[in-house]
Symmetry: D3
Subunit: 286 residues, 6 copies
């Protein structure tokens, strides 16, 4: 890192003050994914940011999926995916692999990384402490063991926070019969944030944010009022894969989360900048 | 279940009283493995026993390995095992599979089962909260990423107990560089029991206990003083795979665990009978 | 006790599980009296049952009268009883004897017995901590110093429970002038149970329960809805001494006790069976 | 009460200040007996004093015997006392009567009186919470069920104090078999004071204190160092019934009680004057 | 002090009992001023009274102004006062002097005095912990930096009480820009008492109380219902400087203070007599 | 403030992480004085730094003197200073002025400033809660009411920290007779830091630190081991007013403070840089 002048250092720390104050003892849920998860450098930056936020009194909860690692493992195991209306069908065997990869590999590896950066963390999944209640998602077509969340019991999360741990949550859960379900990580993060009354839900993505013209990053929309979302969908500005993601944001805000942000996970330390400065690094919904 | 007379019911409950009293608020570590783990009926009985013990005020900690499931997964992934002096060599890829299977599949499935029986549980591994500190085991021959425990931080376990959860612990851990190590589950259970100052360490096995004549179950030795173990080894009564297992018992007792038992996991509810009655179901070491 | 098979033992313990769960941290008030109080064997069984229930996390409060011991002492002291409409008139001297026998003999003897069985108990009466507020009962005819409860302050009881003691309560109290009153033990138990928001009020009696034909024990009514009580009185099924007893049950349920049971104190361990199994041993009112 | 000038009132209250300060949160054990217990006026004054001391933050524990009431009850019951070497022999029947009178009549009547004066109190005996461990006193001659204290568990007393109650303790106890023993109240008070680490043990008597000439009240010895007691016995200044009483004082001081006083219970409010002024009202041992 | 008979001592202490009981754990706010503040003897008596009240479990909060010391310091500094409609105009320089004298001299001197009498105290002003929120008083004419209270945050006061300190409060405060304001001490005491839900607000004055005929002390009105105040003003019985003082009493009562008293600070120990006896020493408003 | 690049921001925040971690929940005592106290801009920077450190979990205690303001007030009041051996003699009148200015003006103004920057603070002096015990300093010549610290009771400071306040301490105290003493602020800060077991004592000065050549700022000695101080004095490197200041550092380290720093208060945010970076801004003693 280049040498930074003492005065600039002081100014930066000083400028972060009102934000540290604002978020003190508040909950921030970070949905972690995309490039920020696959690039070792970006991953390092995210881990370090989360530990830092914890140290200054912010209660960070890390929620993650792990798409590429699941695909890789399914490939190695020779399990072929059947697609239904463009979506992967999750049979029982696949659901088991998803759990194994998310809760056993990705989750515990994140736990280790956080601890490598000086935080204490606890790796949980939706089954631990019956945190996430789930039932089969009723969609137009049968998607197999894809779960719809029917309730969130925050006790395991708040207990972990109270005991000084950073909770890291893999988005798989089991129903009362022990059947494993895969859950969409954005949705899970939104529901967990809502149940915790979080101050902020941050969805890390691989895009700059919501763009008015999706080919021109200079057309970033920095702030969207959730009531304008239907109109933006109608206009086609929100389209494709952004629709379910932004609907998670809307859902979270409607259920009481103060604000949610879609931030660019390709920028190092984007979480830190989002939380501790007055400069957004993506699109804010509230 | 056959109809049991009210008086007999009362007598049984009543007889359990002094044992419930004795173990109240004490820690019991159960190393779970063998037939009790592979037979669904026996697994059900173990889960129900542990939940019951928790309800009557005993703090049960479940430690598990998962040999057969690891082998199965290695097989499916086409990872061939190299053997060194009869022991499986754990390369980096194998260590990752071990973690994934133990912490992601076996562990979370046990968590679900306990909750299916009415308990609240939390699935952890040695990395969570930096519970198990580990370094490369220095053996005669290089075994790869097999870990030797250098320390146990019980905070994640006691926090879980204090918050009302049954901790379920997968015996994998990471060193400070994030490298995954496989750990012998008996050893891990012994060290955890010692660190917790447990009242009892129960190792579930597929044998009746220590037999004077290994072909005759009627020669069960119900009680061994740990100071007699070297003599029994010399005599050949303790031999083969029993040696490391019983050395775990000795180690646990030496480090302060009041007693350890090798019990027959093939008998349904053997834990319950061991803890709540005056009839041992295996061999007790203290 | 006859030898019970290990499997049966395990089944019995296991079957008690959901009941232990249900009553965990709940209050159960036991009104102790009749044969269960006079037979040493039955008394022993009751004491042991209460200590056991305490150990598995149920908060038991023992409320007792002591009719036969009072009569015996009055006899020894040559105090003759005057009867008013079939009821004993309690003059000041008698009231003092009632207090002395209940609070000094019966109560402290129960305290000792519970401790002999491994529980810690505290012997209180209605005066301690001004637990039971009392005034002269206004009945058709003057019954002397028979008290009507005007209020219950549960603080001494909940304090004792919180400090780990089993409260044993003698049903005598004093008014603000220090005048001693005798109180009907069934009524006191009902009011205490209501004030504590008890899960269960158990009245131990010398009968099998409410019988449709009072000469035929096979006509036991296992369950009565309190709204049916007036009709059962009109029908003559509830009659005589059962009327005030059952009115206590009704009163307790009306004031918020989840259920009350009239159980047969002549059966050993009837409390244990009532609480920890699915087989009632008398009549349940709710 | 005569009209007292406002300034004098203020002076009196003001003068009590350093003593209230000194005793704040300290334990004072009062052995209550003699005239102060039989005269209604003196009893009223004692009760009011104890409640007042409690209100200003002093933790008072009241220990009592009840000689005259026991004798009266034994008389009414026609139980004749056998004397051994001048001391009453306590047979099993007598021991039961002692318990009944002390724990059921005297104790609960004191509880009522304290509450009549505005305090909250709890009436206990040595059996409650296994407070006083007791065995048969081995004396020169067999005295029957007279108990020697083998241990004091202060938990029931400190629990009562912590919960805001004034503990009132009857000096009877039971051994582990449930056998009732009578205990000398001075001895019990001394042992309880020692176990509690009391600041002051006050023994109320019917004499002015230790007199140099027992026929001349003007020869009161206001202060005795416990190391001088053997000499005073040898000189005959401490003699007769004063010997065991003063040996209790010596015992208490030796076991860590800061000071003990023998005060004149015939003077109204002698406790208040002893504690809250610089004028002793008897003899102080330390 | 003259010698007071032991019995009278006991009677006085005893008589104070119900009042100590009544005020136990209640808050009493004392506005300290006038002669009681300037005469060393009276000051000593007030300090001692407050420490005594604290010792018997009453939570006393001392609020003070310091008119004469302010005038003296302004004189020494040669700052001339401008008067507006008979009221002193507080310019910025004067406001600084007021703060310095009140918070630096009078306040800390009171803290020392209380500690000299055995209490532990903490000297605070309205700025500490942002206790008193203030804005410029909008009166008919501009009075400069005279503050109107817009809110009271009792946390610093209740924290001090909880930690065992007697809070001593100087009635100056700062607005969010750091500008110092002088605040009327009677008003501040009334608002603090209201915010604390005080049991009693005592205003110390140099008069006997409210007199029907202001030249005849025998016409003291011992008790006024706040609803009668407007009528008493109309009648001219409340007039001049008494009007704002009594309006503070009315305001305090209206905001929930149980009672407020105007007492004669020229009588030594008038606070003690007011609180701990049935004889008022001034006029009570409620 | 100039625009700082997001990445630099993130790097600065990130780099501060290990220091925030190191100081978490530790006590840092800042002796505030010199230019940093007289320049409004520097004062603003100090206040903001302290609030920021508090927000990230560091317990900052601010100790201050106030030389220039005292001199100014003494001048305004026409109090002439007598000098003894070059030191100002503190007569009783001067001591009163010192207290008034320090505890009433400087202290409360700092409290306001901290709150203006978003912290909650409590202004105390050595008399509050009898924090600083003091006696007349015995020096070669009589210096009047200059105090020597005989003890520090940290309760008022730790209570304030526990309740979430930043304690601001004026270095005046009173003896048990109420006599005011002036105390050297460096000494007071050192003793308070020692009593609190502080991690760091920071003395703000108007120099760059200890210089090898006092005319050449490039000769700054960044680190001194306290055992080398006598030698540095002998060499003349530590001389004049630096001697007592550095002796405070030595004293603090000897009494258990981990390290003390003399930092340059003329550099804005020097505290922040000292605590949260690896670049010292003065001389460190340990």
């Amino acid at each position: 890192m280049e040498k930074v002048d003492n005065l600039i250092k002081a100014q930066v720390l000083n400028q972060a003050l009102p934000y540290i104050q604002k978020y003190h003892d508040k909950v921030v849920v970070v949905k972690y994914g995309g490039n920020a998860m696959t690039s070792p450098e970006l991953k390092d930056a995210v881990m370090s940011d989360i530990v830092l936020l914890g140290l200054v009194g912010i209660k960070v909860v890390l929620v993650h999926g792990g798409g590429p690692e699941i695909s890789e493992m399914l490939g190695k195991l020779g399990i072929e995916s059947r697609f239904v209306g463009g979506l992967r069908y999750t049979d029982a065997e696949t659901a088991e692999v998803v759990r194994m990869v998310l809760a056993g590999k990705v989750n515990k590896s994140l736990v280790s990384s956080l601890q490598h950066h000086g935080g204490k963390s606890l790796g949980l999944c939706g089954s631990d402490g019956e945190m996430i209640k789930v039932k089969k998602l009723e969609a137009g077509e049968d998607l197999g063991f894809v779960g719809e969340i029917t309730g969130v019991d925050i006790k395991p999360i708040t207990d972990a926070l109270k005991c000084g741990f950073i909770p890291v949550i893999a988005t798989v859960a089991t129903d009362s019969e022990g059947q494993v379900y895969n859950i969409n990580a954005d949705t899970a993060a939104a529901r967990i944030a809502a149940a915790l009354g979080a101050e902020n839900l941050i969805l890390m993505t691989d895009i700059k944010g919501l763009l008015r013209d999706k080919n021109d990053e200079s057309t970033l929309i920095p702030h969207v009022n959730v009531s304008d979302v239907p109109f933006l969908i109608k206009q086609g500005i929100i389209s494709g894969g952004m629709i379910p993601k932004i609907e998670c944001c809307v859902e979270a805000v409607r259920r009481g989360v103060s604000k949610t942000c879609i931030i660019d996970g390709r920028i190092p330390h984007s979480i830190l900048i989002e939380i501790l400065s007055n400069e957004g690094v993506g699109t804010l919904f509230n």
